[in-house]
Assembly symmetry: C3
Homo-oligomer: 195 residues x 3
């Protein structure tokens, strides 16, 4: 079973690209599963009694948050390993999360060593295009990413962070450009890199 | 107790910003301590008989230097833990040190895993402003940082190094611009990120 | 014995610079050895029965490739340690390898922690000069690096990766420019950084 971690800044079109990847893998008859790391964090936290709602996760003590991160990663690997040797697991998450206290690694050591992916994908696009996509997607007002200089800095720190995570486990880091108007290109590039 | 590691290139104004942070925290009545990593290295080295003067530290065998780095980090954590749960510890050090043999990480694995900070701060400013500040500060002639291209490269490598250290322990990395003429802005930003 | 890891993109002139380093070290009467990491990988793989030819290495299971990488690193350290305390070992390898699945770290944790170098050298040159050198060197047609934007991106990811590897072991990272027409300058800079 091969794991690909798909990261990208809000507004780059990650959800759309992953839905295309799902379609392509289904058409190809490849056993696969696409999971969202944040959802696994929440479900694990609720099930294990860490919190009663999503907002409480951020208020947990740092040690508890790290414990939860590692536990969620183990749950993901358990579920994906049911796909068998030829299966493909794609994990939707972030290389860095932009918080008031700075760039928080999305794949710190205690997570990446559990997930041990083959490839960490950095889904990217021109910051101006990302800004336009954000405006079109009224469902998720992203005021904290509404400036091309900010978007550019996030993309740079995501590259540093992804490479540092990759060095810990010997994974590769692949930049995939989500071209305007045809998300299937990026979806195919992700799939081909894992085959 | 929350630890913030404050890094920055010589001339960016780190000492001034930290003195403002000291004043603000005192006015707010917050239990805090600001320590300099280099001083802890020297005091520990002298006390434990590693050296008889600061200059001898650089001539120590690499293994001995690493041992000393880790020991100094433990001493810092011991002292800062006396601040209690609500206390704030700020550590003045460097993300990279520019040496004749290249950029030496200031927070290698055997140090960052002991310090385990909440945030690693990158205190930055426009390279031209840093150059002017260096010229004004005759007390510390910094010929090895006297070129905006060099300053820019140091800032970039400090970002890569800080992110790699952060990935090891799940800390965040925050760029804080030390604006010309009002170091209290940067000082407040550092404090608010740790509260 | 001091280890320097010399990395650089195909076409930057690494082989030439290392042959100059060999000459200079011999003239200086310094006990030294220059090894190629890829050759050690192949010899170890053949000797231990992992493969029957170089091409088979890439087809090995990821765990087997990592096992082989670590074993080759141990063989290198064993051989270089025969140089004695004043000896200099130079390892010719890559900070990142550009593969169809993205940038693969050349010095992942399970390798860098075995090699534990003093310095990781990034041999660099202006991308346009590298492009010209590639064209002159018909022995190695490098179509996959034949674009200055690609060369620039490889240089950037090599910097992130080298710094992340360096943070794990406390090594320094030194950019060495291979100036056009006189590779002995870069060779001397590498040697002086290790003395």
């Amino acid at each position: 079973m091969k794991i690909g971690i798909v990261t990208g800044i809000p507004g780059v079109g990650k959800t759309t690209v992953l839905s295309f990847a799902d379609k392509i893998l289904t058409e190809k008859g490849i056993s696969h599963k696409i999971v969202n790391y944040g959802d696994y964090m929440l479900n694990t936290a609720l099930k294990e009694g860490y919190v009663k709602s999503r907002d409480e996760i951020r208020k947990l003590q740092i040690e508890k948050q790290r414990e939860l991160q590692a536990l969620a990663a183990r749950r993901i690997v358990e579920d994906l390993s049911l796909l068998g040797d030829e299966g493909i697991g794609l994990i939707d998450t972030h290389a860095v999360i932009r918080t008031p206290a700075g760039y928080l690694p999305g794949l710190p050591r205690h997570v990446i060593e559990v997930l041990s992916p083959k490839v960490i994908f950095l889904l990217e696009a021109d910051p101006k295009i990302i800004l336009e996509r954000q405006k079109r997607d009224s469902s998720r007002a992203r005021t904290d990413y509404s400036d091309t200089a900010v978007i550019n800095e996030v993309i740079q720190f995501a590259r540093y962070s992804a490479m540092a995570s990759a060095v810990l486990v010997g994974a590769s880091v692949k930049v995939v450009v989500n071209q305007e108007g045809d998300p299937s290109i990026a979806a195919s590039e992700i799939i081909n890199s894992l085959m």
